[in-house]
């Protein structure tokens, strides 16, 4: 069993809005092991981005409950100043849109070097050398000239490489990538994912990959957490999730992937919409969309059932008290 580097326990995050309190994250439990890639998957608004930004304490929401343990510290209890020492140094983050995530008026070199100078006590010259090395490493040729250029002089894929370089330059132990390939076209997407794998092989960095793209997940993840309505509904190794999905929502997600090898012409969407998180449902959040909903699902939140040592699901169907049926139909 590999070493746990980050442990999120019972994380609750809510946003205060004019309309009331939105409970975006409602009790997330996730662990991240050293050197692995954990994919957090879910549809828009399920709380995956809020969860990841809570780790960095960059979310605009309030962490109302729970803990995030990293290197013996609870990140939710650190002061803003202590947190700044961790950001970009121990934990780095890459954002969805490389077109807008770089400052248009500073050269990319400056933007990389300022991070180095913030966290490492080295000379400007050494910082520049480091930036050059990292550029070379993420696959940007002509680093010396490229460092002096502005973001608008780079393509989307190149800018995402710059974001990756920026995130990795201080050798973090955790890299959070929030939909890093969503804004890129498919060929560039493949290159960037390949780069992630290579980086991980060489540095042993743990990666949290936030995405809604099951294709991306299949390519790079070791473990997968499926989020729905602010909760992790199923978590397991990649093979568990893809071949032995237990939660009806996970099954629905897998069925909604377009396939080349299938007879069907149409995609099968999951009917319905996620619940309103202003007033979260009393029971299972998926109950209204679930084809197997039982009476208990309406009334009680499902408890976590361990399927195997590293595969767990929040669903009453998997509870030992549920009637055991053989699953036949399509979801």
């Amino acid at each position: 069993m590999s070493e746990t580097i980050l442990e999120i326990k019972d994380l609750h995050v809510s946003f205060t809005t004019y309309g009331g309190e939105v409970q975006a994250v409602r009790g997330v439990n996730v662990t991240l092991n050293r050197g692995e890639t954990l994919a957090i998957v879910g549809e828009s608004g399920c709380g995956k981005t809020v969860t990841s930004q809570s780790i960095m304490r960059l979310t605009a929401g309030n962490i109302t409950k729970g803990s995030i343990r990293f290197k013996g510290k609870d990140l939710t209890r650190l002061t803003e100043k202590q947190m700044r020492d961790i950001r970009g140094s121990d934990i780095s983050m890459i954002f969805q849109d490389p077109m807008t995530s770089l400052n248009p008026t500073l050269t990319v070199g400056k933007q990389i070097i300022e991070g180095v100078e913030r966290h490492q006590n080295i000379s400007r010259h050494d910082a520049e050398r480091l930036a050059l090395e990292i550029f070379d490493w993420v696959g940007i040729a002509n680093g010396k000239e490229r460092l002096k250029q502005y973001p608008h002089q780079f393509s989307g894929g190149m800018r995402q490489r710059i974001m990756i370089a920026m995130a990795l330059v201080c050798k973090p132990s955790i890299l959070i990538a929030d939909e890093p390939t969503t804004a890129l076209d498919v060929t560039i997407q493949a290159q960037i994912l390949e780069l992630f794998k290579e980086i991980q092989r060489e540095t042993g960095v743990s990666i949290i990959l936030i995405t809604h793209d099951m294709g991306v997940v299949a390519q790079v993840s070791d473990r997968i957490a499926i989020m729905y309505a602010g909760k992790v509904v199923e978590i397991g190794r990649r093979k568990d999730i893809f071949y032995r999905p237990q939660h009806p929502y996970t099954k629905g997600l897998l069925h909604s992937i377009p396939r080349m090898d299938s007879e069907e012409d149409e995609l099968i969407p999951i009917p319905g919409t996620p619940p309103d998180l202003f007033s979260p449902p009393k029971g299972c959040p998926f109950v209204a969309r679930c084809p197997f909903a039982m009476e208990v699902c309406e009334q009680y939140q499902p408890i976590t059932t361990a399927i195997s040592s590293d595969h767990a699901v929040d669903c009453w169907l998997q509870d030992e008290r549920a009637k055991q049926v053989t699953f036949t139909g399509e979801v």
Partner: protein
Amino acid sequence: MVTYILRRFGAMIITLWLIVTLTFFLMHLAPGSPFNQERNTNAAVQKNLMEHYHLNEPIAFQYLSYLKSLLHFDFGMSITQPGQTVNGLLAQGFPVSFELGMMTLVVAVLSGVILGVLAALKHNGIIDYLAMTLAVIGISVPNFIMATLLIQELAVHWHVLPAATWSSPKHVILPTIALATGPMAIIARLTRSSMLEVLTQDYIRTARAKGLSPYKIVVRHALRNALLPVVTILGTLTAGILTGSFVIEKIFAIPGMGKYFVDSINSRDYFVIMGTTVFYSGFLIIMLFLVDIAYGFLDPRIKLHKKEG
């Protein structure tokens, strides 16, 4: 870059020529002449004077000869102030006006930007409301009202500062404040709104994710981008300060160019009208040009040397 500057320079010359032409003919279209004001000079004297200043020649001829003298930067003689050349008047007045204008610009930009940034950082807080109240007052109170209020309170009532004239650094304070409040208010509002917008940008989040301090984020990442629209309006604001200075110079009895400009129009002193107009326009055109150049330096996405698209 060089071709851009040359092209801009050509356009500047054409603009200036249009201004000269329009002013020249409008001025001659206006009723009255420099010599028939409230005085019954006899016809012979009038005729002599007209001949002396070539005012009896056909208007086209006058226009061409004026253009010719402009090429040598010769603005001619003042009619109402005998013995004074227009160049001489400008040389006396310009340094004073320039000092007042520059002081105003510096005060307006500095205080406007600081107010705007503070307001944006404390968005919807008490500093924000105070700054914006100040800005609304600055925009809605005209500078001549501001000037008289300042004189009334600080000079007449409290005797803190001199009421008028231009002889010591103390004399600079009141006119500068009176002239700067309007532009300051505009800059403060603009800085606030563009700062608020910039602070929500993705690259600010990136900067935070790097662990940078709030100070660094504001100064390095936000302010520079937020100031771009401010730089854009600097050109127009300069124009506002120039025209404002006519009134302010008059109120504070400051011996700048504005005084000659206003007086010359009243007395139909043709050459002074032309001289001051050309000078002001030229100055303004150059300021606008400098703003464009500065813009190119601030925002690397703007390329001055070639047109895109």
